[in-house]
């Protein structure tokens, strides 16, 4: 298997091809069989490869499977190659198995949809691209996957294209991701220009070898992080993710919670050598992560749409991951990525089950009292909520705690680290609060929907419930992968990932957390999480909606600002999209000869729009000729 790592992404890709070509004519059972087989094969291949890899390289060396030389010229080139190292092993297992579970879940969830084959074809393509992303051995191969998952994401966000908001949401995701990808591309060009390579190991080696100017490393790191803010929905490019909830719910679970959006975290962890050599860039990552964690958590406090709450929660949790990788605790960031994949996938799938039961209703104000109606969904949802809230001994508790403790103890920027810790801790309070608000409003109290909805309430089929339970179990026990040092228990994931964070001269290695501060941080976050839960419980468990009405009456302005997501969308609309459109129209009009040559251009600027109509003699060949000659004159003028 190790000699043919390409088979792992190839399996779901084959599923995509088969379903894309024949799915329309074939039946639903055929489509789902092909799709599930594709994802299952990827998972099995991946697992086998991991075991073989571990047997051969027990210390976490890097294994590269060169497929072929992509292109090379002189001493610069790039290979199509896949690699296994501790980091990609973790990602591989999470992506394939969570992906597989969500494929299974989708069979039940999408059962009545007309675009069944399209959905599974896209989903398989996504899985394939995601595997290319995590297995690629260079930034370039990673970028291929990066663009591929993006494309699938836009297509799946816009899946319900008959609604008016879904295509718009897809376009928005696309636009914001372009800005991020631009950063990624420039960073790659800088690497090509200064290192002559984009291979992970080669770039790390050259960067660590010394003699590289600090500004260059900082620039590369910041540009890469710009890419990460787009893909992983961080400030300032996060606004697409809440809208992305327009897609089918399993897609939200797989792409917009568990896998694709964590690609940015993966990239930063992957580039840990570069980042550790550029502490300024790390600080930016940590601060942005902390700010995003808190900011998104506050927005989630007052959302009514069940998926919107989870979307903002995802942004906030991604912020936690960036705190982790930003303060230098790369394994903690990745650990949180893993646990988050478990409990957030479980929550999203659970919300999908709720929506399924509610015949498509997503507003929590119409829910309530579902506890007894859909018991499996309720139990799994409660477990996952417990985990994400960071309550003791569940997975989120350990991973979040390790991140916050690392932020407290970071050797890179001790003062800023404390501030980031504070941001994260407040965000953790909000997390516990909004998650329990969601749980109580949905499952407790009395049913607030219509009679018809109440009549239709039903538990989901077993193809949906089984994945829920598996994920819920993982959400509880996933934390055992990374127990903190003070428990004197092995930290599997930490020691495993240590292999991906090589020691380099002139930079810190792993973060040493003193036992005292570890205890302090752990106790503080436990108390904080408990406080969040307790406040939510006292406010919502019995009173339900009355509380929010009361809040609105007491502090109307702030509540409205939070409810309207701090007006960020409006800000973007006014400052970015509008002027760009204006500029485009400006160029479009001028260039095509509406305006009579350069003289008229001046006239346009001076006389303004009023006189513009006079120059609407379009498509005139003599004006074109004038531009030609003007061009020649400008040529000679530049020249001399």
């Amino acid at each position: 298997m190790l000699n043919a790592l390409w088979l792992i992404p190839a399996a779901p890709f084959a599923g995509f091809v088969v379903n894309g070509l024949f799915g329309k004519r074939a039946g639903k059972s055929f489509v789902s069989a092909v799709a599930i087989l594709g994802s299952l094969l990827a998972a099995i291949f991946g697992t086998v490869a991991v075991f073989q890899y571990h047997a051969l390289y027990p210390h976490g060396e890097r294994y590269v499977d060169l497929v072929y030389n992509w292109f090379s010229s002189g001493n610069v080139g790039a290979d199509v190659a896949f690699q296994l190292d501790p980091l990609s092993v973790v990602m591989l297992l999470v992506v394939t198995w969570v992906g597989f579970l969500i494929h299974v879940y989708s069979v039940g969830y999408m059962h009545d949809d007309t675009g069944y084959f399209r959905y599974f074809a896209y989903l398989n393509l996504f899985l394939s691209e995601m595997l290319i992303l995590v297995l690629g051995s260079s930034y370039l191969v990673m970028f291929v996957g990066w663009e591929g998952v993006g494309l699938c994401s836009y297509l799946l966000i816009g899946f319900y294209y008959k609604t008016d908001y879904a295509p718009a949401a897809g376009t928005k995701a696309f636009v914001l991701n372009r800005i991020g990808d631009f950063g990624f591309l420039i960073a790659m060009f800088l690497m090509f220009a200064y290192f002559g390579s984009v291979d992970f190991a080669r770039v790390s080696q050259l960067a660590a070898g010394g003699g590289v100017e600090p500004w260059l490393l900082t620039a590369i790191c910041l540009l890469l992080f710009l890419g990460a803010t787009g893909k992983s929905a961080q400030i300032p490019l996060y606004v697409w993710l809440p809208d992305a909830m327009a897609g089918p719910t399993p897609v939200s679970a797989l792409i917009h919670a568990a896998t694709m959006v964590t690609a940015g975290v993966y990239m930063v962890a992957r580039s840990n050598v570069l980042y550790r050599l550029a502490p300024d860039a790390m600080m930016v990552v940590a601060v942005i992560g902390g700010a995003t964690a808190l900011f998104a958590a506050t927005i989630a406090l007052r959302q009514w749409d069940i998926k919107k709450v989870l979307a903002y929660s995802t942004i906030s949790q991604l912020g936690f991951m960036f705190i982790g990788v930003g303060v230098g605790a790369f394994s903690a960031g990745v650990f949180h990525l893993v646990t988050h994949a478990f409990f957030k996938a479980c929550l999203f799938l659970g919300s999908g089950s709720v929506i399924h039961a509610m015949s498509g209703e997503q507003d929590m104000r119409s829910m309530g009292g579902l506890k007894t109606k859909i018991p499996h969904t309720y139990r799994t949802f409660a477990i996952a909520t417990y985990a994400i809230a960071g309550l003791p001994l569940a997975s989120g508790f350990f991973s979040k705690d390790e991140i916050l403790a690392s932020a407290w103890a970071t050797p890179y920027f001790p003062t800023v680290g404390k501030i980031v810790w504070a941001l994260g801790t407040i965000a953790a309070f909000c997390t516990a609060f909004y998650m329990y608000r969601l749980l109580y409003l949905t499952f407790d109290g009395k049913f607030r929907g219509t009679h018809e909805q109440e009549h239709h309430l039903h538990e989901s089929p077993s193809s949906m419930v089984v994945p829920l339970w598996i994920l819920a179990i993982l959400a509880i026990f996933g934390g055992l992968l990374g127990l903190p040092e003070i428990f004197h228990a092995p930290n599997f994931i930490g020691s495993w990932l240590a292999g991906a964070v090589p020691e380099i001269p002139g930079a810190h290695h792993l973060i040493e957390i003193p036992a005292g501060s570890e205890w302090t941080v752990m106790i503080v976050s436990t108390l904080i999480a408990l406080a969040g839960w307790w406040v939510a419980r006292s406010m919502y468990k019995d009173k339900q909606l009355d509380t929010d009405r009361a809040i609105e009456q007491r502090v109307p302005g702030l509540a409205r600002a939070v409810e309207n997501k701090w007006y960020v969308d409006e800000f973007y609309g006014a400052t970015v999209v509008g002027p760009l459109k204006q500029l485009s129209i400006f160029f479009w009009r001028i260039v095509d000869g509406i305006i009579d040559g350069i003289a008229a251009m001046l006239g346009y600027i001076v006389a303004g729009i009023g006189d513009l109509l006079r120059f609407f003699q379009t498509g005139n060949v003599r004006n074109y000729a004038l531009m030609l000659f003007a061009g020649v004159v400008v040529f000679i003028w530049i020249f001399t």
Binding site: G20, L21, K24, Y68, N69, W70, F71, S72, S73, V76, V80, R118, L140, F143, V144, E147, L151, Y154, L155, G158, Y161, K162, A166, P167, G170, T171, F174, V175, R178, I179, D181, F182, L185, I186, F189, F192, A193, K581, L583, S584, I585, F587, W588, V591, D592, G593, G619, V621, Y624, A625, M627, L628, A630, G631, V632, F635, I636, I638, F639, T640
Partner: protein
Amino acid sequence: MNWNDVAVLLPEIIVTIGASLLLLGPFLRRKPRPAGMSLGLGAGQPAEVSTGDESAKWWMLALLVITAISLIGVSWAAEGLALSAGFSQMFALDAFSIFFKLLFIVVIAMVALLSDDFLRESRYSAWEYYSLLGFALCGMMFMASGVNLITIWVGLELMSLSSYILAGYYKNEEKSTEAAMKYFILGAVSSAILLYGISLIYGVCGSLNLMDIEKSLSTLISNDALMFGIMLLAAGLCFKVAAAPFHVWTPDVYVGAPTPITAFLSTASKAAAFAIFARIFYSALHDFHLDWSNVLATVSALSMIVGNLAAITQTNIKRLLAYSSIGHAGYVLLGIISLSDWGIRGILIYTTVYVFATLGIWATILMMRRHEYAGEEIDDFEGLSKRAPFWAFAMVIFLLSLGGIPPTAGFIGKYYLFSAAIEAGYGWLAIIAVVMSAVSIFYYFKIVVAMYLREGKEADMVITRPLQVVGAVALAVTLIFGVLPAPLITQVEQSSHWMATRAAVPHVGR
């Protein structure tokens, strides 16, 4: 002149004779046509479709195959010579020209296939049409091989005159005639400017041969007449490749011309213009790189900015592609500005890759062609993913390639060009290029959105066999050279080797 010279010229001779014979096509049939048909822009045309026109396509393809075979044969015979120049150094059969000639032949064959459906519907004579395409091909082949400004210019004019007529081929349609008129007037003006540039260069160097020009420039210090000459020459060439600010004709002509001819103008004719652009600036004018590079850098930046920004708001897909092609001209100019082995490779790779992706797009557009001018708005693409999933997917690949997203071939081309620019110290230009290709994805994505995220109209499509062939070839090339570019790169390295070494010759004079 000896027989060797004639042998070197064999493919061109075949094309010329073949294209002339195609003109006689209508007389080969039993029932003679009414008079007036043998003039491309004559008055009348017959009312009913004649079956004789069907065979024209096959004759044309046969001609192209023979030409390709003779070209390959001749190039084998001439192997070993780095540069075999015949006819008193007027005409060279080198690896560079062979690369481009083969590309031209393939592209013309694909354009001929694209035209099939159009000709059947439009009821104009297919024989003249293919004959004109043949003459245009002949001109392009001379352009690729010309090492003397006379040859180059005559080839250029032969191509241009044929394309003026072809742009106005839809003579019942006023738009088409208007496009031809605009193209003709502006083309003639630019040709005059180009000629003036050539005459000044001739006056300074005393020769029209590129090698002699190079020699005399290597000992020359900058002088005004020469600078004027180079600038005018560059302006004329920029017109042909549709680089801003000489791009004004492009949108109108692309929209007005019959769609297959737009495909021809945006691919073959552009590639040919870049071939001579590269040849002249790499092999003759490289010593004055410092002087012309800044001007061309401005042109390149302007083309990328204007082309891509203006394309954003377009709703007509032909116009959109016209603006986008202006942007692409800007990218290719990076290769000329950087004047290095990477640059010339980039030009060759990008031209190839761009040509195929663009032809694929035109094939897809033609599939939706209903009644002469329909199928041109972006709206017409709505719901294509439902109506023709395969071609919608192919369209996505073509657009990704134009946008330079890996693993499509367009990425490899952009990679070479942008790296060349960075290497040559034009980092700012490379940044503009990256920003503008990011912008270009916006309007390409508009088409993807229409195809995948919009409710489709119930319009039927004409997916004919020739269009399928063109689309499939373009798709295969775009994907294969994206995933496995090594063969293309090896070929390009060989083909551009000589030119790259010319560019590296140090300047003696200053």
